[in-house]
Amino acid sequence: MDVHSRDYRARARQIIEETPEVREAVNAATQTFVDNRQKAFADLDGTALSRWAERVKSHALSHLADYLEEAEARLVERGAHVHWAETASDVHQIFECIVREQGVKKAVKAKSMLSEEIGLNPFLESCGVEVFETDLGEYIIQLLGEPPSHIVGPSIHKSLDDTRVIFHERLGTPRDASPERLAEAARDLLRDAFLTADLGISGGNFLVAETGSIALIENEGNIRLSTSVPRIHIALVGIEKVLPKWADLPTFLQVTAKSATGQPVGCFVSMIQGPGGSPGDEPDGPEELHVVLVDNGRSRLLADPEAWEALRCVRCGACLNICPVYRQTGGHAYGYVYSGPIGGILGPGLVGLEETLPLPFASSACGACADVCPVRIPIPDLLHVWRQRAVERGLTSDVERSVLGLLTSTATRPRLFGWAEKAAGLLPAPVLRHLPMLREWSAGREPPRLEGPTFRELWDEGIE
């Protein structure tokens, strides 16, 4: 996928000024996620859980090569094909070979952020493969020709009416169709695709080294169908997705689901060890399983002693939901597949700082994201690392530099109110106007410590 982060400020302004309904929809959806997450963790020792999860992921990453080899060996034993890809173009070549050899004409696809990262759909279409996104949210935005706006809810920026309009145009449903009627129309069309596709494509939430299992969490059943019904299944898995042991999986499944939507585990979980039908001994399931292990910048980020912790991310979206800045615009403003706080630390890490500026600055540094992250990624600290590097490399504007100068001089404690307010000075004016100005976020935190000019003062001086 092309990266358009450079236009962040202009896009954020445009979204807020020209499509205020996006902000409304994103706010409502993320608030629901936040409330549900809170309820799910209410009775739990969330800190102990996240400490444990953090250590398992850090352990896995610090022994990553061995675990990848172990997972590969298990998968091969079970008759799966394991491929390795350094870059998007490697992934494309692997798909091209499979698609050509097998004469694939139609593919059903489950949601995979990695597939967005590497621009899989346009590539497959250029190979003459018809690709159906089967997650309802992904399907809606596929019809609209838009990228996902959220890593868990790709269409959260769309209202019921938006879907009514596009389904009316494309599927012929009544203009005032109920959500049930719309879902039914999509199901009928996609059911036919499931039954006639040669290829199913999925991502992978986790890859268990000990058993070679690819684990996937979902609610609709489209992942189960995509990985069960077509003759061939290709799973795209980032190399950082490794969990060491089978016994690690149940807790990770639960922690991820709770953090994402507040559910105990999601309606469906698939744990895939190998191909199913012939030559296997099972009645059905894909005859071929291909697992593509993708680097695409991950090994380089792993080598970065200050920024590697972003690789622990389980893509739950909790940091997006709680982020007062993300909530003003949704994901499209960021111009990169990963938006919000995690986008600000994965973007520069995976793609490069220059290409993804100003994403590390698109944050009010209020620290809420670090509080909800189930694997304890110190997101504000990592954002700060990238901001400092941007200044050191002369990539920032005068504005960013001046504000960052203030930050580094007064704030060693990024969660303090004052720091947050000043950091917010880096955001575009329309975003700022709508921020709940951090008062809610600071409630219950340490008292504000305001030193030097605040973002408002900077703003008055004509800084955007």
Binding site: R78, A183, S213, L253, V265, G276
Partner: protein, 210 residues
């Protein structure tokens, strides 16, 4: 370059870079299994331990599933006869005992009104039924209604226990079904039965294993 050569070169380079990246890093120990104390309390804590079936029922119902408890096989057959009346056809997973199959015309999974499975286990903690691909997946996924038999003795307190019990004989795909298929992707309004079954009924067999 062929697909295999691309992959082989990539493999060597990725593993090389990963090893190099980790050379300087202090290895982090695996923290071991999460102590039991960290298992959530509430319905799947103490209560879950003393009455896993009850906790399982609460959880699955909360997610929109249905649960019936059946005292023995005779009660199960009687209930099944009644239950099956509203369906016209059935697709049955491999290994569902004859006595637990409804007397309905068989149909392809994609055509059948009802799918019937036998779970290999269940988890009270998450309200999940554990299904094996060895019985065939299509009848688990394609019919709009899914009836799943599970023995009370196979209902584990935690998801960890339920998965551990499958560890030695993992099928091609092990699946958890923990509620009807649902989505809130259309305007954040919850709809059920999107792609997978819109109704899921867990029939818990309380009697001893025959």
């Amino acid at each position: 370059m062929s697909d295999e050569r691309v992959s082989k070169r990539a493999r060597a380079r990725i593993l090389g870079r990963v090893r190099e990246a980790n050379q300087e890093r202090e290895p982090v120990e695996h923290p071991g299994t999460l102590p039991d104390a960290l298992e959530p309390p509430g319905p799947f804590g103490d209560a879950g331990r003393s009455d896993p079936v009850g906790a399982f029922e609460d959880r699955l119902r909360a997610a929109g599933g249905e649960v019936v408890r059946l005292a023995d096989e005779a009660a199960a057959r009687k209930w099944l006869e009644e239950f099956a009346r509203e369906f016209e056809s059935v697709s049955v997973g491999v290994g569902v005992p004859d006595t637990l199959q409804p007397a309905l015309p068989k149909a392809q999974p994609s055509e059948a009104a009802l799918g019937v499975s036998v779970a290999v286990g269940a988890s009270a903690q998450t309200g999940s039924l554990v299904l094996s691909s060895k019985e065939g997946r299509r009848s688990q996924l394609l019919p709009p209604v899914h009836l799943i038999w599970v023995r009370a003795g196979d209902v584990h307190t935690t998801l960890g226990d339920a998965l551990q019990a499958c560890r030695e004989d993992l099928p091609a795909t092990l699946a958890l079904h923990s509620g009807p298929s649902k989505s809130a992707d259309i305007g954040q309004i919850l709809v059920t039965g999107v792609h997978g079954p819109g109704r899921i009924i867990a029939a818990v067999l309380l009697g001893p294993r025959p």
